[in-house]
Assembly symmetry: C2
Homo-oligomer: 385 residues x 2
Amino acid sequence: MRILILGGDGYLGWPTAMRLTLRGHSVMVADNYLRRRLEREVDAVPLYETPDLGTRAAVFAALTEKSICTREGDCTRHEFVDALIRDFQPGAVVHFAEQPSAPYSMMGAEQARLTLENNVGTTFTLIWALLRHAPECHIVKLGTMGEYGTPNIDIEEGWIDVAHRGRSDRFLFPRQGSSLYHTTKILDTDLLHFYARNNGLRVTDLMQGPVYGLTTTECDMDPRLATHFNYDAVFGTVLNRFLVQAVAGMPLTVYGRGGQTRGFLNIEDTLQCIELAINTPAQSGELRILNQFTEQFSVRELAGRVCEVGNRLGLNVAIASLANPRREKEEHYYNAQHHALAELGLEPHLLTEDVIGGMLERVLPYRDAIDVDSIKPRVQWSLDA
Amino acid sequence: MRILILGGDGYLGWPTAMRLTLRGHSVMVADNYLRRRLEREVDAVPLYETPDLGTRAAVFAALTEKSICTREGDCTRHEFVDALIRDFQPGAVVHFAEQPSAPYSMMGAEQARLTLENNVGTTFTLIWALLRHAPECHIVKLGTMGEYGTPNIDIEEGWIDVAHRGRSDRFLFPRQGSSLYHTTKILDTDLLHFYARNNGLRVTDLMQGPVYGLTTTECDMDPRLATHFNYDAVFGTVLNRFLVQAVAGMPLTVYGRGGQTRGFLNIEDTLQCIELAINTPAQSGELRILNQFTEQFSVRELAGRVCEVGNRLGLNVAIASLANPRREKEEHYYNAQHHALAELGLEPHLLTEDVIGGMLERVLPYRDAIDVDSIKPRVQWSLDA
């Protein structure tokens, strides 16, 4: 199948591109390196440098004799995306092309506007390019479990039957994001919901939990194929940040009481989920929503596990509680369904001690390069406009 | 109180400005005449010409010795809105500044993009101007009953308690718009919901039904103070369109079977509702949602009433069923609550035969100027990209 990946330079985008190519698909990736630019803006550095897409595609081609087509451009611009869709005629588009950081979206008005315009703009531009040039194409969109927030009821997979005053109907599961970033993903879902209903688009919206891990089998083929790995307080996700803190000899920073519970998954499982979604496309007019995670943990539990494994490796890991810079519940009910991807065939890579140990060992070679200052939270959810 | 009205040139904006000024408020209105520009773009003409805001404010001042301050500018531009809020320091902002037509939003990619960027952009720009310069200011936002769609359960006022698997929580009432226009109002609500929760904004989101009527007591003071009245298929709302069709001797165009049921209200009641909302501001952090309509009718019933009254006036009115250009249910359950504004003191002007007759008589003097071609639907909800 011809597959277009928007946001193909990212932590998940690049490994996905390699995986799908090795599965025999014809893959094109597009990116405008926005996240790299934003990293520089906030003085964050990844754990190691990664080459640009052209270079990585060349390395990949030399190793595998398979080519990944790369395009540099802004996916909010309709001229750019229209031409990609019209000329490439993809059977599926994997849409990662969003500003991915909740803290970045909460830094101030300009960062909020960029997040809103980039994320909603990319989704909207893609929708119209498909309506014009490839209406049968399947959109596989990366949403977030954070769209649901932390409701006091079980989280279903996207939809819920509501009985009310003797009648009933089925609705999108209620959503309430805890940052503007999460809220833009809610807006994306609203737009996809409308255009699926009205124009028959095929959409799979993956409600993904925080991803952890440094590598995939394809990344391991050559150091230049490594994925872009952030650990700073703006672009790093919580478990990846803990891994780097453990190696740096810095206490793991738990925000508040650490009772925040989420569904997590290994980067290897993200790739499986995307492949499973592509292999079983949504119907015309369907907004299919799949909850994409494998295990639930509280932040406190995650820190405890990293601490334990790290100390066994002689790392001398401690845990520190910081005043929570975010506005979120620190103790709450959380029980989210995640059957659908398992039924499609997902074989989870769970967070065992071996997995944690293996990730810590992969961080160790970069110990001296870690910028510990960048890990301290510096974005307050309360307004400082 | 100092009150800023965004979209003050509109069908509802200008009468609201006069009403609030005569109530003793200090009123500033802003508009960029977008709707007038879009009317020209689609070759729609209002029933009669209305002067620009500066001229209307001068006429109003000459009659009442009260001034309405007018500003021309684009409310998606943060420099413009920031300066308005910073300098005027309103206690309330009434936000009408949105592209108001569902058919326009469905004409094609460009019109959809304009609707999305204008509507969501204005709301976002306003939010941030308030966070920076007037965080205690009360936003009174015009949403639409169309955000709820036509669910198979009773529509509550904004929120619903959901019991699920032995637990329960309170959520935004599920929303599913039937056009991109309606969907942009859903996105607005999502944004206001987030910034109310996170930053303590005070928000009243008025879920308004289709408004009808040609005038208010203030508009009646002078012909030059009349409100801008559209009747064409793009910018006219259904009952206003029927009134003009009846006078023009053209059959009332019911889309499909006409079982589409909505909550309607008189323009006089819109003004009351806005005043009631302003007089009882939302709390800090509250997204208060009020369903703003007074009576439910199906389109078929509305046409029947206009037909009956029109024929009694000797107008020879017929009803024609057209293939529905929209994608919507033509027969459906509809029962929407609307207690909250009544409890705040709303005294409805119901759609009596006298009211219909009075409206028809107000249209009669313009009979020869009616552009009947502009009333025929020309926007198909199915894609013609």
